[in-house]
């Protein structure tokens, strides 16, 4: 027996086979699995009613990226107490539809005049969740105690409540904090992406408008960004911080792909970077208790805690410049909003 399956690269597909394993001990086994296919799960579902031993064996597979378009998965129906006792065979002829979109630069003439505000998405249920900042859902998707972890927004005691627009209100701080900048203070020429208060759709994350190519995104498709996108890319698909259309696949934000050794951190060769450079944190402050955007204290702004070398930070001399803040402004403890301990 054989059957053809047309599956999408990166997606799960299911092969279902009937057996009487419960009564006869004969069941389907995978006897040949090509490299391009992985087994995600198996499941046995009784289908024959109360008095029947008919069993539906479900095999969940994932199709990996591959150059080969067609592969075969072989199954045998054999006794599970005597594997040589094969009574039937089945071959799944799998045709993998390659996902090749990455070959082209992303572009849309409407990416710069998108109808939806940057960072907001329309949930499936049609209701607008306006409390979604830069990819972090505030309400409905997170435990309230851990929410409002918007970029540039302090955690913990400074948090008080949300206003009607679901914007966080803070005690003892300027409520007009945008992505790390106090609004009134920020120099218009300083853009970690957005000019204060303006933040329109024509601005891409991290690029001054006039400079950035339309095809370059620091991650986010405007307006489409979702919580499950990390800096714009689904983790498993793409990596952090690539210009979409330009970057060679083998190059990662400063790292050779897949190589990323201890000596290479976020684009800085270890030996070159000064010890006083931190990833946006004042040197003396950053500790394991600091999180940037992850309420569970698992990650720091792109670094898995256990991996990040404490000496290597995002590239600011700590006494000189803070992550996105004009130096002279964000110095005092109470004004520090970016790396506040819980």
């Amino acid at each position: 027996m054989q059957k053809e399956y047309v599956v999408l690269e990166g997606k799960i597909f299911v092969v279902e086979l009937l057996s009487y394993m419960g009564s006869t001990n004969y069941g389907w086994c995978i006897s040949k699995l090509p490299q391009q296919i992985i087994v995600m799960a198996t499941e046995n579902v009784p289908v024959g009613g109360k008095y029947s031993a008919t069993l539906l064996q479900r095999f969940y597979f994932g199709a990996l990226a591959t150059e080969e378009e067609k592969v075969d998965i072989s199954f045998t129906l054999n006794s599970w107490s005597d594997l040589d006792d094969v009574v039937d065979n089945f071959t799944a002829n799998v045709k993998i539809i390659k996902s090749d979109s990455e070959d082209f630069a992303s572009y849309s003439e409407n990416a710069v005049k998108i109808a939806m505000p940057y960072g907001f998405v329309r949930p499936d249920d049609g209701t607008q969740n306006s409390c979604q900042d830069y990819g972090l859902p505030c309400i409905g998707h997170q435990d309230f105690n851990h929410l409002i972890v918007a970029y540039g927004v302090p955690l913990g005691q400074d948090f008080k409540n949300l206003n009607m627009a679901c914007e966080p209100i803070y005690m003892g701080q300027n409520a007009n904090l945008k992505y790390g900048y106090p609004c009134g203070v920020q120099d218009a020429s300083l853009k970690y992406g957005y000019p204060c208060g303006v933040q329109d759709a024509s601005l891409k994350y991290g690029y001054p408008c006039g400079v950035q190519e339309a095809s370059l995104k620091y991650g986010y498709p405007c307006g489409v960004q979702e919580a499950n996108l990390k800096y714009g890319y689904p983790c498993s698909v793409q990596k952090y911080g690539y210009p979409c259309g330009v970057q060679e696949a083998s190059l990662k934000y400063g790292y050779p792909c897949g190589v990323q050794e201890a000596s290479l951190k976020y684009g800085y060769p270890c030996g070159v970077q000064e010890a006083s450079l931190k990833y946006g944190y004042p040197c003396g402050v950053q500790e394991t208790s600091l999180t940037y955007d992850d309420p569970y204290n698992v990650q720091k702004y792109g670094y898995p805690c256990g991996v990040q070398d404490a000496n290597l930070k995002y590239g600011y001399p700590c006494s000189v410049q803070k992550y996105g803040y004009p130096c002279g402004v964000q110095d005092s403890q109470e004004a520090r909003i970016y790396a506040v301990p819980f």
Partner: protein, 475 residues
């Protein structure tokens, strides 16, 4: 809109000492009406005054003009960089020295294959002549490169040619596709199948990565492949490469024919594309600044395109790639570009999609693509999905969104209209319909529908913002 030209290609003569099998202009003997030396020199002054940064002298074979050195000098002495494309047959050491003395900036020699193939395409002895010319230029320190026209005659030996050029010391190499015009129109077996363009891009990419010779795919090769962008980054030695932004004809450059007629591109030389007045009847500046000048290009919009280009996400930026490709392949600059790598990819993808019947998987894939900003492919997948499930309201609305992001407002409107027929209370469909109307020019209609969408949605904030944006823009 004011346009500022920065470059032009000047066919100083149509006369040529070769009879190349692929010559797009079928050059032979000089044609009547060539500009006199006085006229040519006066044109040089006009070129400089118009602010052009560089000029490419071509033909025919530019070196058969006796006054070519004077032309070079007149331009270079006024700060214009002069480039010349030559077959090299007349470029002996003395000529090379003359050109250098008169200020030639760069020189490109046409080499279309290894010795045997080049000589077959052009003329016996042409390869050795071109190689010697290159040596002279190199010895004199004149920046020189090679231009290769790719046809079926040479596409399979590009690797060998590359090695030959590297051995010759060539540093820069431009490759272009031979299009069915002039002599090549009579040799259909030489014409590349459109699918081969991806082979060319792959070859350019591999060559660029090697770093042994800088390779420059011409404007007829593309579009929007990451590989092509990577090649440009490497060859131009900058990360600031831009996406293809439409043909330069009449925008940043123009062409001059041997008799002083002006046109957007010397390859697009049918009468309708030539400006009414030549420099014998007007000035270069007046021709360039004329309100209706180069209208075929300056007024060209995505809506003017046909076929796949008409609904392409890049359409408004790309405008169909090289118009000469479309003209020579299909007889119309409005037609789709068969040599476009993206077009080829989409056609392949559409074919694949027809095999898929997993509606859920299609929807998930489309959603993933939308999140990544890959709207065109999402639209294609959703098109397949709506073929499978014509009554899938959600798929229609998401498809409409993808089409909107592709700039396909008419399709966006139709898809949303279908969704509204199924469910008049779908605020997303109504807002999408409103935005489509607005972008199609019915601004008041768009605003009115968006107001209804806001009410229908119970005052959703995003729709309110859309409405505010539309009203602000309309005013």
């Amino acid at each position: 809109m004011k346009y500022q030209p920065i470059t032009c290609v000047w066919e100083v003569t149509m006369g040529c000492n070769m009879r190349c099998g692929h010559c797009g202009s079928s050059c032979a003997k000089p044609l009547e009406g060539e500009l006199t030396t006085e006229e040519a020199l006066a044109l040089c002054d006009q070129i400089a005054n118009l602010g052009l940064k560089w000029v490419t002298l071509s033909g025919g074979e530019p070196l058969i003009r006796q006054d070519i050195a004077q032309i070079v000098k007149r331009l270079s002495s006024q700060g214009v960089f002069v480039n010349m494309i030559t077959n090299g047959l007349l470029l002996d050491r003395a000529m090379a020295e003359t050109l250098k003395e008169n200020g030639i900036a760069t020189l490109a020699i046409s080499i279309d294959g290894t010795r045997e193939i080049h000589d077959e395409i052009r003329k016996k002895g042409a390869f050795d002549s071109a190689r010697e010319s290159f040596q002279y230029m190199t010895e004199l320190g004149i920046k020189s490169g090679v231009v290769t026209t790719i046809t079926n005659k040479n596409i399979d030996i590009l690797g060998e040619l590359k090695e030959e050029l590297i051995r010759m010391g060539v540093k820069t190499w431009q490759v272009q596709i031979g299009l069915p015009m002039g002599n090549l129109k009579e040799k259909p077996d030489w014409l590349l199948a459109p699918e081969r363009v991806t082979d060319i891009i792959d070859f350019c990419y591999e060559t660029a990565k090697e770093g042994r010779i800088k390779i420059y795919p011409a404007d007829c090769i593309g579009y929007y492949t990451k590989k092509e962008l990577e090649v440009k980054k490497i060859s131009y030695e900058t990360d600031m490469v831009s996406l293809w932004d439409g043909c330069n004809a009449g925008i940043r450059g123009f062409g001059i024919l041997h008799d002083g007629r002006i046109l957007g591109c010397t390859s697009i030389r049918e009468e309708q594309f030539i400006e009414k007045k030549s420099i014998r009847e007007s000035t270069l500046k007046a021709i360039w600044d004329n309100e209706g000048a180069f209208a075929w290009r300056r007024n060209f919009k995505k809506e003017d395109l046909d076929g796949a280009c008409k609904t392409c996400v890049y359409g408004s930026k790309c405008l169909g790639g090289c118009p000469n490709t479309r003209l020579t392949m299909n007889g119309s600059i409005n037609s789709e570009n068969q040599y476009c790598a993206y077009n080829l990819k989409l056609k392949e993808m559409q074919k694949k999609q027809q095999e898929i019947t997993d509606a859920k998987g299609l929807f998930e894939q489309a959603e993933d693509l939308i999140k990544l900003g890959i709207y065109q492919e999402a639209a294609i997948i959703l098109k397949r999905l709506t073929e499978l499930e014509p009554d899938n309201e959600k798929a229609l609305v998401v498809k409409a969104y993808a089409e909107y992001m592709c700039g396909n407002y008419e399709i966006c409107k139709e898809d949303n209209a279908k969704a509204l027929e199924m469910n008049a209370g779908n605020a997303d469909a109504l807002s999408g319909y409103a935005i489509a109307l607005y972008n199609l020019g019915d601004k008041q209609g768009g605003i009115d529908h968006m107001k209804r969408a806001v009410v229908l949605s119970g005052g959703r904030r995003d729709l309110q913002e859309d409405l505010a944006g539309m009203m602000a823009a309309a005013n």
